[in-house]
């Protein structure tokens, strides 16, 4: 029987958080693709992309690693012995570095990041620029931003940021109660799905897509929602993107994205003149779900370029 290798791994970080990673494909694959998901999502947000890549993984063309960001999905928070562990996007960049060190110590890598996952890659590029060009050979930045997320008070992100810290802290203190309240309006409820659709999806999104996304988000914790909100606000790597100029970058944004509207991607494209910017019509913030084939095509371009690079080197 022709088989596809799979293993799960817990990536250990210095502050005791453990990251749940799923590795698909052979150790011998010539290149590895690592995908990072967004805020209050989980690696399942990449399932449609992974499904489309499956035949190529089975043929040994690449290895795919999906992982849950700390505090998301099945990954843990820092151990209680590190009560002052920082919650920042830089920390997520450090987590991605730990993952690469432990699971992909050698060989070319292509990174894909959606929303907060894209910011994670920018933080990695700022903290470990030496990886880019040598190890990291290509980057896809999807529905993401280099910073200045909340300055526009009319944007969805801006409206969320307007919530006073006191409100957030109260919600965190009462997280148990908030969790209970959330169960009153589960994703199976049409109103729940309508809210999710309005905030996150474009005109072409199917109901099944919205339900799948709503279920992933419903599984995330109030703690993840609240504690990462200020971290997103503080994220600013607009002056720190130089490492990304060394590798091919493709940028994607939906023209109906309310969380990270197209101006953020245009800003990125300005800072990375060689990057390709794709603005996708009738598409919201959930691009990996809404346009998986588009992303897969770009990822395959990046993977191929990563291998050409190696041949040239």
């Amino acid at each position: 029987m022709h088989t596809v290798w799979r293993r799960v791994a817990a990536v250990r970080t210095p502050d005791g958080a453990q990251l749940h990673a799923v590795v698909d494909g052979s150790e011998d694959a010539p290149v590895t693709l690592v995908l990072a998901h967004g805020w209050t999502l989980a690696q399942a947000a990449w399932d449609d992309v992974a499904d489309l890549l499956a035949p190529r993984i089975a043929d040994g063309e690449l290895r795919l690693i999906r992982y849950d960001q700390r505090g998301h999905g099945r990954s843990t928070w820092p151990s209680p012995t590190h009560p002052d562990a920082e919650i920042s996007i830089d920390q997520l960049g450090a987590d991605l570095a730990s993952l690469l060190d432990q699971l992909v110590p050698t060989g070319p890598v292509v990174l894909g990041g959606h929303s907060m996952g894209g910011m994670t890659i920018m933080c990695l590029a700022a903290a470990r620029p030496e990886l880019f060009g040598d190890r990291v050979r290509g980057v896809a930045l999807v529905s993401t931003s280099a910073g200045d997320l909340t300055s526009d008070p009319r944007s969805a992100a801006g409206r969320m940021a307007a919530l006073k810290p006191g409100v957030l802290n109260a919600a965190l203190a009462g997280a148990v109660l908030v969790e209970k309240l959330r169960t009153l309006l589960p994703p199976s409820h049409p109103r729940h799905r309508r809210m999710v659709r309005e905030l996150l999806y474009g005109a072409d999104a199917s109901d099944a897509m919205v339900l799948a996304g709503a279920e992933i988000m419903h599984a995330s914790t109030v703690r993840a929602f609240i504690t990462f909100m200020p971290a997103l606000d503080e994220h600013d790597k607009r002056e720190n993107l130089s490492a990304l100029t060394r590798v091919p970058v493709e940028i994607f944004v939906g023209d109906e994205d309310k969380l990270t509207p197209p101006r953020h991607s245009r800003q990125l494209a300005d800072a990375l003149p060689d990057a390709q910017l794709h603005q996708v019509e009738r598409t919201g913030h959930m691009l990996p779900q809404e346009r998986p084939q588009l992303l897969v095509d770009a990822l395959l371009r990046l993977l191929e370029a990563a291998l050409d690079d190696r041949a040239a080197a």
Binding site: M1, H2, T3, V4, W5, R6, R7, V8, A9, A10, V11, Q18, L19, H20, A21, V22, A42, A44, A58, D68, G73, R74, S75, T76, E215, I216, H218, A219, S220, T221
Partner: protein, 513 residues
Amino acid sequence: MTSTLETPAASPDASPDAREVRVAIIGSGFAGLGMAIALRRRGETDFVVLERAGDVGGTWRDNTYPGAACDVQSNLYSFSFAPNPRWGRSYSEQPEIQAYLRATADRFDVRRHCVFGADVTSARWDDAARRWHVTTTAGEFRARVLISAAGALADPARPDIPGLDTFAGTVMHSARWEHAHDLSGKRVAVIGTGASAIQVVPAIQPIVDSITVYQRTPAWVVPRTDHPVKPWTRRLYTYVPGLQRGIRAFLYLFREFLVIGLAKNRRFLRPVAKLARTHLHRQVRDPKLRKALTPDYTIGCKRILISNDYFPAVAAPNAELVTAGIAEVRPHSVVTRDGVERPTDTIVLATGFSVTDLPIAKRIRGREGRSLADVWSDGMVSNRSAAVAGFPNLFLLVGPNVGVGHTSMVYMIESQVAYVDDALRTMDAEGLDVLETTPAAQEAWRSLVAEKSKGTVWLAGGCASWYLDRHGHNTTLWPDFTFRFRRLTRKLDRENYVGVPAGAPASRPEVAA
């Protein structure tokens, strides 16, 4: 010293050297020890306990896997005549239960009746001599009465998976744990999600590199209300034994209420199912994992499991639950039917035991030379779960239809011990050489059990469990309140037996009846 236990020359034909005893008991678990203690307590000393291992304890001696513990509170899961005020936890772990069994064996001085290393290879009824010829790996025995207390959870069942023998790493069954094998940093596959698996998975998950749990059917899991017993409670139990007896009675009654739902009206199981569902929702957030862990059969159809750490362990960052079904094992991996191959260093078989085809049944041959397994080829039959027609002077403990999933097995064992003991005393009182039950009594018992099993969750709950044999009949569980079993087996049902007095010519029971 056990000078009486000298082993005779180990030749199969050396029956003149065979040791002659009144009673031979196979096994020294809860049932074998319970029987031995009952004999001792009424002054009987002419008996042996044949134990294949080197110590007493049975299932509780063999199942030393990490996390092994009892699903019934120790105040209930213990001999009624030997309460233990010093239990450290409400639900004891294996080492404490094993220590209790050893201490109880010593306290009632039955260890000197034990022949260790005596694996029974065959037991044959000799109609002329009216004796059982028992051949063991520690010599020959001739016994007037043979009592099999070999148990149902004795012989590990190995799954029939292609390539399992070709695996290059360690393969171990949960009931034969290899403690010398260090699991730290290993990629471990656990096959099975029954009572053993849900204890072993959380115990090893934190130390292994990764753990893959291969699940065929998810179990219903309810919270475990386990807690340490406070020192003052232990003192109270010591000085006020009645208090511990009272708690035991309360636990017994509380658990017996489950029978209403399991065997009478499944509606009463709904709150239990709700409890289990809430438990799962609280402990697992991942929607896909939650779905994979949600059973599609009525709660109770398979054994209800109790655990607070199983769900968190399978949802841990280094864990994966696989439902695709195993296609084959390769030297360094396990392959599932969906074509996914997972690198694997160690395989843990948490695949349970041979229950509906008790291995001891192949080794016991009755009056016509047929083995119990032969007679039972269409399903296990017995009179009152203890006696089989064609097998004179043979009694079974923990045989067919005495199993329970909701309460303490020890209660059933004590019921059976009292019944068998009454049979032995009846033989003495009437001066009988031979006591044998009738096919008619067996048939009556079979139809009683079948009637009681109708509509129970085990038959109608929509699952395939180890409770049912390959014909779909319940041959393992007692399908009613356990106090009803006790009432039915309180005294020997003498009318269902044919006795041959000492000195009387051999006569076929069928004729005599």
